[in-house]
Symmetry: none
Subunit: 423 residues, 2 copies
């Protein structure tokens, strides 16, 4: 089963809203083993909408449309569908009844404009929307007809653009129906291995010749601030063979690069590190200079962080480094705030003050100002201490301020991971 996504609406087209719907829908489809071939966004202009219906139907087995179903004059999707399919609007009694109940429950009058949302194309199967006023519409276009010259029936589905309404319709109405239609299809499935501490080209060299590993399947290298992601994509006759194939390929990649792989798929560094800390019963405290609190914010992103995160000090000023974490004045004077010595004293000091098992510190030059030839923008020191020892590592990252801070946090989590996992 191949899928194309069409988003209709000026507000998306001109960038006032990020198209999170498309990502959510694409991921939901990919999880089912369907191939998403394209996303498309057009504004509220009829000719462009009609052109996209035609093009995407030529491309994919199912076209999933969101947006343009509201009650105002700039919502054109229904009009476009009726024109494209030579259909007419008819009153759909169950939808009118649903609207009446909904408005009653909200204590509002059902206006004529809202009641018109029960006028729906005669050829569609109506998908009741329990979460809102705009019904979903499912059209089956028979093979070999004017709009579908292919040999397989094609599907068009129209859903509202409100995210929670779209998700409801996808999960409860659309995906189950598509699943039935594709029960005997070949599937495409994927898994993503998350690496850290290795550059894209070095990783590619380490894995080496991919031909014998891949059995004709695909491997993609995806750089990200937290490390390079390796996405394995396989196509197989069914889900079971696909999963077996994925497992074999993953094993072969792990045989070559396992020590750089910290997790897979939806795993995040903070979650992996957090789970490890909780499992080992260890606690951590942070001393943050250039990250201003971002490391602590990241370590507390997942529920249950209070089991391992005690807290920390945002020691942005030198005064705070001395008074609240115990860095010696002469250390700052002799070596500066961005130095191995300061990173070590911060990590050790925070560990001691919070009586945590592990103390971790970040001090660096996030930029764009403050760099020197000796310590350019992007110089980061991360310190890590336990009750017996302390060490610090230097990183040189080359992005803008936001990226440098994210990389500093990623480096700190990486050190923490190494310490706790014993890698």
């Amino acid at each position: 089963m191949t899928i194309a996504l069409l988003t209709i609406g000026d507000e998306i087209c001109i960038g006032q809203i990020v198209n999170t719907n498309a990502a959510w829908m694409a991921e939901a489809c990919a999880k089912e083993g369907w191939r998403v071939l394209a996303h498309s966004v057009v504004g509220d202009e009829l000719p462009n909408i009609l052109n996209e219906f035609q093009r995407l139907l030529g491309l994919a087995d199912a076209v999933l449309i969101t947006g343009g179903l509201g009650p105002t004059h700039d919502d054109r999707t229904k009009t476009a569908l009726v024109e494209f399919l030579h259909d007419t609007l008819v009153l759909h009694e169950p939808t009118l009844e649903h609207l009446r109940n909904l408005f009653k429950r909200l204590g509002r009058d059902l206006t004529e404009r809202n009641a018109a949302q029960a006028l729906l194309p005669g050829k569609c199967t109506v998908l009741q929307n329990d979460k809102g006023t705009a019904a979903g519409m499912w059209f089956t276009l028979s093979a070999g007809t004017m709009h579908n010259a292919s040999k397989r029936d094609k599907i068009m589905v129209s859903m509202p653009g409100v995210p929670h309404e779209m998700k409801h319709l996808m999960q409860d109405r659309v995906i189950p129906r598509l699943r039935e239609l594709s029960a005997n299809d070949a599937v495409m499935r994927y898994t993503t291995l998350l690496t850290t501490g290795i550059a894209e080209s070095t990783l590619a060299d380490l894995i080496g010749d991919v031909e014998p590993i891949l059995e004709g399947q695909e491997l993609a290298f995806l750089p990200s601030p937290s490390g390079v992601k390796l996405r394995i994509t396989v196509t197989a006759a069914n889900r079971v063979s696909a999963d077996a194939l994925l497992e074999r390929i993953e094993e072969r990649i792990r045989a070559r690069a396992n020590k750089f792989i910290f997790g897979k798929d939806g795993d995040t560094y903070d979650a992996v590190v957090g789970a490890l800390l909780a499992k080992r019963g260890l606690t951590v405290a942070v001393a943050e200079s250039c990250t201003g609190g971002l490391l602590g914010a990241t370590l507390t992103m997942k529920p249950g962080a209070s089991a391992y995160f005690l807290g920390g000090v945002q020691c942005y000023s030198n005064d705070a480094k001395m008074r609240f974490v115990g860095v010696k004045p002469e250390t700052l004077r002799l070596h500066g705030a961005v130095s191995e010595e300061t990173a070590r004293e911060l990590a050790f000091g925070i560990c001691e003050r919070f009586q945590s098992d592990i103390g971790i510190s970040v001090t660096g030059i996030a930029g764009p100002d403050g760099g020197t030839p000796e310590k350019p923008v992007g110089t980061i020191w991360v310190g890590i201490a336990d009750k017996k020892s302390v060490e610090a590592h230097k990183y040189t990252v080359g992005g803008d301020r936001i990226v440098n801070r994210e990389r500093a946090v990623a480096a700190a989590l990486q050190l923490l991971f190494k310490k706790v996992s014993g890698v």
Copy 2:
């Protein structure tokens, strides 16, 4: 000038990454007065990429392409461009030099794989990428040629998909060139004034009769969680007249409502608050419980934060609240960590310990666990203190953990803005 956006990459197509690039680019183009007609996303398959080149060139004056420029085998954009334009790859010496310098600075060897990024299509104008290894490529397709049957030259630009590299190329290379090409076009431009602390209807009354202000142009009132936004939209024969018109209208609105306007367009609360603090010579310290450092991280997002941000304590545990910020044990015992009393003691305590002009605290139940009937998930207390006084405000927000923390930070920044601006 009309624009189409093309994003290339399986990771976007299958929903692993949200297409934030497209929204950013669309907004940047709309700001210039150019009409964005379509966004399109395709995976890394050559035929689909080639089809989209052809289709989007038929649709718009300029096709802006991102993604698929990395050094590995799954990056196909350069191959696609060469094939589509019947071009060949040639070594671009300045890019090789740039790569050599970049790798030297990072202390890494320039591998053959990376050096291949200096092989670029002969027909393009190379756009140097100061932030990364993949150069931008600008192609001018003359009117009336095979790829461009129209009467106007068309533009194709290829940029890397890494957001900060794309933004750099757009801002410093692409937009200035497109601006030159469209200097004599009619434009629609807009600007948005951001207000806070005033209701929509009160603001409308304050601004009063808009007819004489607007010279026939448009003003929209857009309510949002951070305050009402005022969007001015003008249409004019060219950019210069449009900007003059925008400026006149903005001035007239400011004459009536200036004290409620905290910024415009892309301004964020943290940047505006930071600039205000710097201007007034005031310093701030934070005590963060449920946000774990996110408020400090937000206050230090912009360069120059050391002028006003002294630091803070991430007092995630009760022990940290007492030992490092001075909350009284009986306050925690009688009222709990999420209470007016604790928020006040945290704000006052952090102000005192850091000797800052202002202290601000956040304590709340971010969820999903820890809620009670009396204090449900989403209950947030924000405290704000100076050397003489302290107050705390309660917010009830109803999102998931991540959203609740973001809203807590937004509430804290708003209180800080009110205090510093005297609104």
